[in-house]
């Protein structure tokens, strides 16, 4: 990383304070001096590690969505469900909006997040990355907000304990896959640096973000 890039002033996203981020040690983090918001982080493998984790998560995500989460048996009757099956049952029972919301938060948002992350991490392997990577990054950010696998897992556990009094419940392969995703999703987020991607993206106005060029030509020296 070029030291001039690091020392360009940035504004804290939470309190708008202008400050310079000093060169960070490996695995270092910079916090805003006024409000404590994390401003920058220095990762050892800012693109390779999240890419590896995203590929792993994508494979497990397919397993989590195609195998039954759990099965239930009571006096000889059995029932089982997948994640989408749950959302679809809600739809069938007359709660279309809720079913759609569950489907979005539990399947579509995490799937979109993984897909966008995969695309942008592969596209930024060469620098400068094409301009559309920025758009993908924005979408990944929005989908990350609405992806609620961890909440869903707790919801399933509560539902299971409620039902366990009435019937025998067995956890399926899908459940273990979701458990693995609960570890992989935060691992991707912790090991991903949005600023690193933005610094490699081609500028919208046609300029290319060449390493070493001042990131903000309009900025004057700090007082």
């Amino acid at each position: 990383m070029n030291p001039r890039m690091v020392s360009a002033p940035i504004a804290c996203p939470d309190c708008d304070l202008l400050q310079r981020v000093p060169p960070l040690p490996p695995a270092g983090r910079a916090r805003c001096t006024r409000c404590g918001c994390t401003l920058a982080k220095q990762l050892a493998h800012p693109r390779d590690l999240p890419l590896a984790l995203t590929i792993a998560a994508a494979i497990i995500f397919v397993i989590a969505n195609t195998t039954p989460l759990m099965g239930l048996s009571v006096v000889g009757r059995t029932a089982s469900t997948t994640i989408l099956g749950g959302a679809y049952e809600m739809w069938l029972q007359g709660e279309q909006l809720t079913g759609a919301l569950v489907g979005f938060c539990a399947v579509l948002a995490p799937a979109g997040y993984l897909l966008f992350m995969l695309t942008l991490l592969l596209a930024t392997r060469r620098s400068p990355a094409p301009q559309w990577v920025g758009e993908i990054l924005r979408w990944a950010h929005h989908f990350q907000l609405w992806s609620m696998l961890e909440v869903m897992m707790l919801g399933i556990l509560v539902a299971l304990i409620k039902i366990a009094e009435l019937a025998t419940v067995d956890a399926g392969i899908g459940m273990f896959a979701v458990g693995a995703l609960l570890l992989l999703f935060p691992a991707i987020m912790v090991n991903f640096d949005m600023r690193d991607i933005w610094e490699r993206v081609e500028w919208a106005d046609g300029d290319i973000a060449t390493p070493g060029a001042p990131a903000t030509p309009a900025v004057q020296p700090m007082p």
């Binding site: 002033p9 940035i10 504004a11 996203p13 309190c15 708008d16 304070l17 202008l18 001096t33 006024r34 409000c35 404590g36 918001c37 989460l69 239930l72 009571v74 006096v75 009757r77 029932a79 089982s80 469900t81 099956g85 749950g86 049952e89 809600m90 029972q93 709660e95 809720t98 079913g99 569950v102 938060c105 539990a106 301009q131 920025g134 924005r138 609620m148 869903m152 707790l154 919801g155 399933i156 509560v158 539902a159 299971l160 304990i161 409620k162 039902i163 009094e165 009435l166 019937a167 600023r195 933005w198 993206v201 919208a204 106005d205 300029d207 903000t216 309009a218 900025v219 700090m222 007082p223």
Partner: protein, 213 residues
Amino acid sequence: MNTATSTAAQAGLVACESCGLLSRPVNAALPGFCRRCGEALEFRRHRSIETTWALIIAAAICYIPANALPVLVTTTFGSPEDDTILGGVIYLYASGSWPLALIVLIASVMIPLGKLVALAYLLVSVQRGSVKSNRERTRLYRTVNLIGRWSMLDVFVATFTVALVQLQPLMSVTPGTGVLFFAAVVVLTMLAAESFDPRLIWDSASSRRARHD
């Protein structure tokens, strides 16, 4: 705080909300678009206070039917029984699993209410131009953003209970209207937290200091 501290807005700079790039717009009233990522630039989120108020008022209205109407209707041997959110908590507590009852109580009752109260407090304090405990208020905002998603818990509980317990004619569970209102509360409060601009918390302190200088 020393005099060297100034905000981007005071320096006439706009930080892009999408990529963080600082730009100096020629016309402060029309900042234009980010040169790097093409996003529309704004000094502060557009109509942040009004939008956030509208969303939390809508959420507060939905909160009433969400708690009053049943979220689940359990039919055992043909006789239906309604379950509200609080009813579900009491059922869990009565059946001996108080840790789960506590989790559901926190996620379904305390987090949505806490979010509404916290955002209303932040809005009122910003509108009154408060300069006190800015750091704590920013931390409160970040907490609201972080834990808000957990109130979705009861929607997932209802979904997977409905999906599994379909053992007609023995027993079946169908969703009640309450679940839709409850989901609406969660979505509206999440959107409200997104539309609130935390930089507004610090603006009155900055402008007051600027007047003193």
